[in-house]
Each structure stands twice: as structure tokens, then as C-alpha cells.
């Protein structure tokens, strides 16, 4: 069963509604209600999926989600239009805190697929999982970097570029492509650099990140999210557990709200596009 809170046109749930009208439930502009109803649908044996903007899922329904996780319900949340992906809607709609908010809820998994092929794999894995799962889906168009068929192993990050381990770029979602662009440039300049797609923010691939933390001179996290509590925060927690470890540069949004402009303008202004990320890394090259 799929639940919509009157954003079907934006999330493309209208396509699902047309094909599977009997498995589509419209609850109106009432997101907390949607999660409550989804919790109830589990009792009839369904695996409900609630789809809305990142802000209106994790942001608006946090206590309902926490309760569903506490009850061990296999609800699936698909959060779309994360961070700057929602562009002109501005500060009220731009969500940079969802990974932090979702990650702290016990027994809840967080997936961040990086392209359309991986999104499909992530959704299939999420649907098969007995746990409450949040899948963060980008709106900003990115090239396809994966090939079908693709596995989406929970808790395992993916090394998507391996040209040495001096500099390791860890990215999630739509920022994986940006990280690849940046790494290709650095590699062309003679740097030994790798890119890791942290496709599941939770559970995190602690083993790989710990290992990289002993190899790299600098680890860089790149995310369309606040540098507090998301990918950068999670990686910092892992690195700091070792007595000595790589230096860490966290790239993302800082301690301020978004503003209204196109996604491209916002990524550029906040140094999250290729040249902005490159500049931030260059300032820290060792």
C-alpha cells in the first residue's frame, strides 16, 4: 500500500495511482496522519510506503516515525526533494537535517541511493526488509553511474573510484556524482584519490570507514545536508573512535537555513557544485 499526502504530482505517485489504484491511499495534506495510518495498515499484513518531501516525512512526522520504529513496524518512508533539490521553495521546504533526525531513531535504517538504477535497487531492498526504512531520493537530475542488475547490500558502502587512498571522498545520494567529477579532476592533477558511495547511512559501513581512516591523509565527506549529524557527523563518530586517524573535511550546509533559488544556483552559491567542492578540498590538500 502506498500513501500520498496530496503531493502525488510532485513525487510522481500519480503514476503509481494510475497503475495500482487499489493500493493507493490519499490522506490529504496530513502527513502525521499518513504515518499513523501506515502504522495501522501493518496490522492487516501490508507493507505501507509513505512518499512525500523529505521535510514532510522525517521533518514533520518524527514522533510518529519514532513510535513506529519502537513498535518494530516495517513501514517504508520515501523522502523526496532533499536539501537544495527543492530549490525555489526556500527555507521552509529545504531539509538539511533529515539524516540527523532519522539516524538517531533506534531500529530505523537510512538509505541514500545515488542514481536511478541504485534507487530501484534500494527500494527493492527496503521493501524486503522487516525494519522501518527511510529512503532519501534526490530530485536533482544526475547521470546514471550504476548498471543493472545491482545489489543494494545493507550496511556496505561502495567504492566507485579507486585511484589511490591519499584522499578519500565519501558521498551520498546526488553528491556521489559530484564527488566523482571532483575526484577525476584531482586524479588528473596527479593526486591519489578514491570515491566511496555511502549508500546506507545507517547501518554505516564502520569497517570500511575505519580502514580508510588509517590509510588516507584526508577524508572528505560531501553531502546535500547539514555537516552536523548526517554523513559527515556519522563518519566523524567512526573516525574519532580510533586513537589516531585521517584528518576529516566535512562538506555540506553549515549552521543556517536555505534560501530560495534554483538548485543549480544554490549548489553554486553554497560551494556544493563541482568547482565549489574542488575549491574546498584544495584549501585542505596536505
Amino acid at each position: 500500500m502506498v500513501l500520498d499526502a496530496d503531493l502525488g504530482r510532485s513525487t510522481r505517485l500519480t503514476v503509481f495511482e494510475e497503475r495500482f489504484p487499489k493500493r493507493y491511499i490519499q490522506v490529504g495534506v496530513a502527513e502525521q496522519n499518513a504515518v499513523g495510518i501506515a502504522s495501522g495498515l501493518v496490522y492487516a499484513g501490508y507493507r505501507p510506503v509513505f512518499v512525500s518531501f523529505t521535510m514532510f516525512t522525517i521533518g514533520l512526522c518524527w514522533t510518529q516515525l519514532r513510535q513506529a520504529a519502537y513498535a518494530g513496524l516495517p513501514i517504508k518512508i520515501i523522502g523526496t526533494h532533499p536539501g537544495y533539490d527543492i530549490g525555489p521553495d526556500g527555507g521552509t521546504h529545504q531539509m538539511f537535517e533529515d539524516l540527523a533526525l532519522a539516524r538517531v531513531i533506534p531500529e530505523l535504517d537510512v538509505f541514500c541511493p545515488s542514481d536511478v538504477v541504485e534507487t530501484r535497487a534500494a527500494l527493492l531492498t527496503a521493501l524486503a526488509s522487516p525494519r522501518l526504512t527511510y529512503v532519501r531520493v534526490g530530485r536533482h537530475p544526475v547521470p546514471v553511474i550504476h548498471r543493472e542488475p545491482l545489489d543494494f547490500p545493507i550496511g556496505r558502502a561502495e567504492i566507485v573510484l579507486d585511484k589511490g587512498r591519499d584522499y578519500v571522498l565519501l558521498a551520498d545520494g546526488s553528491m556521489v556524482f559530484t564527488a566523482l567529477e571532483v575526484a577525476e579532476q584531482l586524479a588528473a592533477e596527479g593526486q591519489r584519490v578514491s570515491v566511496v558511495n555511502v549508500r546506507t547511512i545507517k547501518p554505516l559501513d564502520v569497517e570500511l570507514i575505519s580502514e580508510l581512516g588509517q590509510q588516507a591523509r584526508l577524508i572528505v565527506t560531501i553531502e546535500n545536508h547539514s555537516v552536523y549529524g548526517g554523513l559527515g557527523g556519522a563518519v566523524a563518530e567512526v573516525l574519532a573512535s580510533a586513537a589516531s586517524h585521517s584528518a576529516l573535511l566535512r562538506i555540506g550546509t553549515l549552521d543556517r537555513f536555505g534560501e530560495s533559488a534554483t538548485t543549480e544556483q544554490l549548489r553554486q552559491a553554497n560551494r556544493l557544485d563541482k568547482s565549489g567542492v574542488l575549491e574546498q578540498i584544495r584549501n585542505r590538500l596536505l
Partner: protein
């Protein structure tokens, strides 16, 4: 631009809940003409925001007449001192309709009209959703169901402080799906907040479907009454009817007032009216010019 003084909306009745304001004066011809002229100009402003990145034109056009009426005849807001502590408050909860508010603020002299040409520019704050950095905008909105509770808080604050400010919050009909509105009304009724008026822009649509086809809201008056409010239902495009209704506020002493204003999405441009697919509109300059011509043809001032 000056506000039309409205002598009958005295301060004390709303505050102590002890009585109604006197019978309203008829809307005189000059005021009626001013309202229509302003509405026409505000609609022109709204249509122009469809250029570039677009805006929520349909949702804005439905509440133009309401906002023009409120800012011209009802709200005590001084364009020379928009932050005056004794001002009345207007909260736009259906934040995506903000082009209508920008247009009104421009017409009453709070917002330089040339700033409207900077809609969505990165070097200004004329956004898709309200930003209080714009003079006259009271609060952020855009995430639906958020400002009725805020308005209840402000009304409660005014009540506790013994201040005469009146609080008006405009909500969309679709956003009444959000439970937060009804939680707020329970509190408003419990505290007998008759300094609070909820205006429902009842244009019959939410996002891309008619409200009654999605999550039916009717009978809406009965719902508000059951929550302890007093209601009036009025055409949101009829200034004389609006004057009659707003001069009666509070509709009942000791109760929050709810004015359900029946409106038309896209009102003023027949080819945009009452269309499910004209909530958000992005248009090319020649398309906008054609709507502007249509608007002027169908809204000629001087006949009614």
C-alpha cells in the same frame, strides 16, 4: 496610499468580548472603486510572477480580493510604520499564495513595486513562500497548517497583555487537512479568543484536485461551529458582502470568528479560472501579456 478609516471597528468590543460592533456603513462608491482598482493591479502583479521560475498563480488569484479588502478597509496597518505594536496582524498560512500579498503590500506602499520584478532573484527575498524580511510579512509560511496555531498564540498574547490588536489568519481550504489547525481551534475556543478571525480561502481546490474529490471538507461551517467558532459564509470576491461580514466581527462575543470565503481559483482571468492544472503556473512573456489583456477586458473599472 492611505488606509480607509473604518470608524465602526472599534477596539474594545473585540477585546472584552462584550458586544458587537455597530451596523456597518455601506461601502461608498469611492471605496468600492478603489478596491476594484487595487484588485486589478494586484492581479497584474500576480500574473507577472508567473514569468521565469513561475509561481502559484491560481492559489494567489483566489485570495486577491480578500487581501485587498482586508488591507484597504479592515486591518489597522500603517504603511509608514508596519511594525507598530498596535497594528493588526495578518498571517498568510497558505504561504504559496504570497504573490497576492506582495501585490497588496506594493499597492499600499509597504513594498517598492520594482522589487516584484525581482521575484526569485537570488539577491532579494521575494520568494515562492513568505519571508518576514519583506516589510508587512509577519511570519514564514509554506509548510501548510503552521500559521493558525501561531495566530492563536498571537491572539492569546494580545488578550493576556490586554492589547487591542486584531489577528487575522488566512488559510487555504486544502490545508484544513492538517490536524494542527483543529488543535489550534480547540485552544482558541477554550480561551474565547474573539480577537481572532480565521479567513478560509474556499477556492475548492488543493494542489491538483478539487477538495471534495480528495478529502471532502463539507459541511465546513458545521465543523468550525462544532469546534466552538462562529462562522459566516460569504463570496470572497464581493466587496460589499465582505464589508458586511467583516464589520460584524467578532461574529459572536467570546468565540473565534471563521469567515468562509467562497472564491474561484485563478479568479480574474477566465482562461485560468477553476482549473485543477492552474495551481502553479510558469509562463512565457507573451502568454502573460495575453492573460493581462484578458484580465483588463473582463475587469473594466466603472461598470459592475
Amino acid at each position: 496610499m492611505t488606509l480607509i478609516p473604518v470608524p465602526s471597528t472599534g477596539v474594545s468590543p473585540a477585546v472584552n468580548g462584550s458586544g458587537r460592533t455597530p451596523a456597518h456603513p455601506a461601502l461608498d462608491d469611492a471605496t468600492h472603486r478603489l478596491l476594484r482598482e487595487r484588485s486589478l493591479r494586484v492581479r497584474e502583479h500576480v500574473l507577472r510572477t508567473a514569468a521565469g521560475g513561475g509561481s502559484f498563480v491560481g492559489a494567489a488569484l483566489s485570495c486577491v480580493d480578500l487581501l485587498v479588502y482586508l488591507y484597504t478597509c479592515f486591518l489597522r496597518v500603517d504603511p509608514a510604520d508596519p511594525d507598530a505594536p498596535d497594528r493588526d496582524y495578518l498571517f498568510l498560512s497558505k504561504g504559496h499564495a504570497v504573490p497576492a500579498l506582495y501585490g497588496v503590500l506594493a499597492e499600499i506602499g509597504l513594498l517598492a513595486p520594482q522589487r516584484l520584478r525581482r521575484h526569485l532573484h537570488t539577491d532579494d527575498v521575494i520568494y515562492w513562500h513568505p519571508n518576514p524580511q519583506v516589510p508587512g510579512v509577519e511570519f514564514y509560511s509554506g509548510s501548510l497548517g503552521h500559521l493558525l496555531p501561531v495566530a492563536v498564540g498571537v491572539a492569546l498574547d494580545c488578550r493576556l497583555a490586554g492589547n487591542p490588536n486584531r489577528v487575522v489568519v488566512m488559510v487555504g481550504d486544502g490545508e484544513l487537512n492538517e490536524g494542527s489547525n483543529w488543535e489550534a481551534l480547540l485552544v482558541a475556543a477554550a480561551y474565547r479568543l474573539d480577537n481572532l478571525t480565521v479567513v478560509v480561502d474556499r477556492n475548492g481546490f488543493q494542489a491538483n484536485l478539487p477538495t471534495e474529490a480528495l478529502i471532502p471538507l463539507e459541511p465546513l461551517e458545521a465543523k468550525f461551529r462544532a469546534f466552538g467558532c462562529e462562522t459566516a459564509r460569504v463570496s470572497g470576491h464581493d466587496f460589499a458582502a465582505l464589508a458586511f461580514t467583516f464589520h460584524r466581527l467578532p461574529l459572536r462575543g467570546g468565540a473565534p470568528s471563521v469567515v468562509i470565503a467562497d472564491t474561484v481559483r485563478g479568479r480574474g482571468v477566465p482562461s485560468l479560472e477553476a482549473r485543477a492544472d492552474r495551481w502553479f503556473v510558469k509562463a512565457k512573456p507573451d502568454e502573460i501579456e495575453s492573460w493581462l489583456r484578458e484580465l483588463r477586458q473582463t475587469n473594466q473599472i466603472g461598470e459592475r
